[in-house]
């Protein structure tokens, strides 16, 4: 068959798939439902900010120098809670002076307090602030503490040097997360560093990509399988295979369902992204500007989007081919339920290392998983999102995936060709293997 006829038939099959999905009530209903869910999820940060407004964060303040902790606590309370003496309904922090830094650290460790601020005076007379927490202190709140620390430093300088004989030394400020000790938020690709807010943003973007990839590859893969089983059980398959080749039918179905799936993802994501952007403005209007709240989309770079697009297309081609081959061996739609779980195992096996990679882990297992074609669409996307990938790793991962897709697609087409005219029990492993070999 000529190349023109092949392209024509693939497009005809794809177009029919798209039209069928667009007409399907299930498609319309699931799109509306998912879009509503997406908007809901996008508004979660706003909800968290609103809820956080009523939450008072307990902070320990300790210093070896007599009186320093008390003065600092009072100053930060005044600056950060907006009123002398603290204690109003709108206050964010409740500062408690601890004489013993170890006792403060253990109060943080056992969750009684959110963070402990330890103040040390340096040799140059400047103050050093170390904020110890175990993951309960949001980056924006840490930044606020930094502002408070600066105010303490300024007041300390004016009080100690009324004549300004000593030059002002800006207080140093660092946040230590005891629960993230090994992760060193900030060690990015090629050693490039980024701050805590950007790291949080990259995690959010990574989670969105990984969850989206996982759901769409499995969900739309099942569409491919169920579409083929429906054609078999409805016996329209015989007309199809007499009119077009197995390759055209498989490619057309994957393309059509892939495009329908992409359209659905778009219809779900665009309102969610708009809601996310709007939620920052709404939050600012209701609660005042908050530098930590608006940065959640900051990491969504064109490069990441391109990576997502490439991994989604190749990953979908890979998974959809597997689902097409499996679907062609089934005769009844009820059989789909029994194979749905085993079919999703490869994706689930890739999902877990991807989530681990998002938490900052970069173990050899995660690195290897990001090269394995069945898993790289999830794991490498995670690693790209949190910025921990060397160029050669990306090339290896993409190269292996790009090589695997045609091999799996060809095998799936052969299985499809043999499977679609077989009814009853699935063929034996020997027949299955012969089909893959093209025998």
């Amino acid at each position: 068959m000529s190349r023109g006829a092949t392209v024509r038939n693939i497009w005809l099959v794809a177009r029919r798939e798209i039209a069928e999905r667009a007409r399907s009530r299930a498609f319309v209903a699931s799109t509306v439902l998912l879009a509503a869910l997406g908007v809901g999820v996008a508004l979660i940060p706003l909800g968290v900010r609103l809820a956080g407004r009523a939450t008072v964060l307990g902070i320990a303040v300790s210093a070896a120098e007599p009186g320093l902790a008390t003065t600092a606590a009072r100053t930060m309370d005044t600056v950060l809670n907006g009123q002398a003496g603290g204690g109003g309904p709108a206050r964010t922090f409740a500062f408690t002076v601890y004489q013993d830094a170890t006792a403060a650290a253990s109060a943080v460790a056992d969750g009684r307090l959110v963070a402990a601020v330890r103040i040390v005076r340096g040799a140059d007379g400047g103050l050093g602030f170390t904020v110890l927490n175990v993951g309960a202190l949001a980056p924006d709140k840490a930044q606020l503490l930094g502002v408070g620390a600066f105010a303490v430093g300024v007041l300390d300088w004016t009080r100690a040097n009324p004549g300004a004989t000593r030059p002002f030394v800006a207080p140093s400020f660092s946040v230590a997360d005891a629960g993230d000790a090994g992760n060193a938020a900030g060690a990015g690709a090629g050693g490039a560093a980024f701050d805590a807010a950007e790291y949080a943003s990259r995690r959010i973007v990574g989670i969105v990509f990984v969850v989206l990839s996982f759901l769409t590859l499995v969900f739309y893969g099942m569409w491919v399988a169920s579409g083929i089983v429906a054609e078999k059980s409805g016996r329209v398959m015989e007309l199809l295979v007499s009119a077009a080749t197995a390759g055209q039918l498989v490619a057309g179905k994957i393309l059509g369902i892939g495009l329908a799936g992409l359209a659905q993802v778009g219809l779900v994501l665009v309102p969610a992204l708009l809601a996310l952007l709007a939620s920052g403005r709404i939050g600012d209007a209701l609660l005042g500007p908050d530098s930590g709240a608006g940065a959640s989309l900051g990491a969504l770079s064109p490069g990441l989007l391109l990576g997502f697009a490439v991994y989604f297309v190749l990953g979908f081609a890979l998974y959809a081919s597997l689902y097409a081959g499996a679907g062609s061996l089934l005769s009844r739609e009820e059989d789909l339920q029994t194979v749905a779980l085993p079919l999703s195992i490869p994706a689930v096996a890739g999902y877990f290392p991807a989530v681990l990679a998002l938490s900052g882990s970069n173990s050899p297992i995660i690195r290897v998983a990001s090269y394995v074609p069945l898993w790289s669409p999830f794991v490498m996307m995670s690693r790209l999102a949190v910025g921990r990938v060397e160029v050669w790793e990306l090339a290896l991962s993409l190269g292996l995936l790009a090589l695997t897709v045609p091999v799996v697609a060809l095998s799936a087409t052969r299985v499809y060709r043999a499977g679609v005219v077989l009814y009853g029990q699935p063929p034996s492993p020997r027949v299955f293997w012969r089909a893959i070999r093209g025998g």
Binding site: L12, V13, R16, E20, G234, R235, L239, V421
Partner: protein, 315 residues
């Protein structure tokens, strides 16, 4: 000969579906492919279409192996009827014709013309799931012929149709033949094959057991028959007194009598007149295809051959 099926062999695991099956079909002929369920008819058609691969043997059309030909060379009506349930009839017909390379406008025009001739022009806008089985079958037939294929392969096309639709389909077959199409259809309804076919092949357990022009096949057993109809007692007791005359098919209207040994037809007629029977009809006849089938296969065509596995309705 234009369509040549040559020495086809096909096994499904331990089951032999085709065992050296061979026959030829002349161009522009209506050809009957007769056999019980499981005899190998569907497998042969699927191999001709390139859906299955033969273990050995070839199917050629005009000297070219069928799998090297464009799929639009063939039109196929599968035995298992099926359409997209939620798709409108006209859209389905245009879709399938499109896969064979037919432009949508022309496909739409031709599809409407076929629906009109099947007295089903109102079906075009309906979804397939809203149609009766007979109407779905008509739509599938149109899907098979719409792109004007040179060869039509029809698997049990008359099964499940009411007499009116059988007559419409027969007319369509003859019209397609007159347009120069080669029509091969499988059936186990021998009377349909007798009424339509110029040539037949009787297939059993994957082999052709009789084949060729219809008349030759009917005479191939060497048996001689007369058909006789008399007024009054249809049991024709006088026949018992005619040596060599054996009623092989009794009927209220007419009986088929086989002539054995040296018995001649005129002796049967003379015996009837001699017995005082009023003869309404008398003809010297060839055995029916049904009789040839029973002779060659040893059982009625309605019985399964129990050879092929479940491959979606016969093999």
């Amino acid at each position: 000969m234009v369509l040549v099926v040559d020495g086809l062999h096909k096994r499904f695991g331990p089951v032999v579906a085709l065992d050296g099956l061979a026959f030829e079909v002349a161009p522009g002929q209506v050809f009957g492919f007769l056999g019980a369920n499981g005899a190998g008819k569907t497998t042969t058609m699927r191999i001709a279409l390139g859906i299955l691969e033969a273990d050995a043997g070839t199917v050629t059309w005009m000297g070219t192996e069928s799998r090297r030909l464009p799929r639009s060379t063939f039109g196929y009506l599968p035995e298992e009827r099926g359409l997209y349930p939620r798709m409108r009839v006209l859209d389905q017909l245009v879709f399938f014709a499109g896969l064979h390379g037919m432009p949508p406008d022309r496909a739409r025009r031709e599809a409407l013309a076929w629906l009109r001739r099947f007295r089903a022009e109102d079906l075009g806008g309906r979804r397939a799931e809203q149609l009766s089985k007979g109407n779905q079958q008509k739509v599938q037939f149109i899907a098979a012929v719409l792109h004007e294929p040179a060869v039509l392969l029809m698997d049990e096309p008359f099964t499940g149709l009411d007499p009116v639709n059988v007559a419409l389909l027969r007319e369509a077959f003859l019209e397609l033949r007159d347009r120069g199409r080669t029509v091969v259809f499988s059936t186990h309804q021998m009377e349909v094959a007798e009424a339509l076919c110029e040539a037949v092949a009787i297939v059993d357990r994957g082999r052709v057991v009789a084949g060729g022009p219809l008349r030759e096949v009917r005479r191939s057993t060497g048996r001689r028959m007369v058909r006789i109809s008399v007024a009054g007692d249809h049991r024709m007791p006088w026949l018992a007194r005619v040596p060599g005359a054996r009623v092989i098919q009794a009927g209220m209207d007419r009986a088929t009598v086989e002539l054995e040994g040296a018995l001649e037809p005129d002796e049967v007629l003379a015996a009837a007149v001699g017995a005082g029977a009023r003869v309404l009809h008398f003809e010297v006849a060839d055995p029916s295809l049904e009789q040839v089938f029973l002779d060659r296969v040893g059982r009625p065509a309605e019985q399964e051959a129990h050879l092929a596995p479940d491959l979606g309705g016969g093999a």
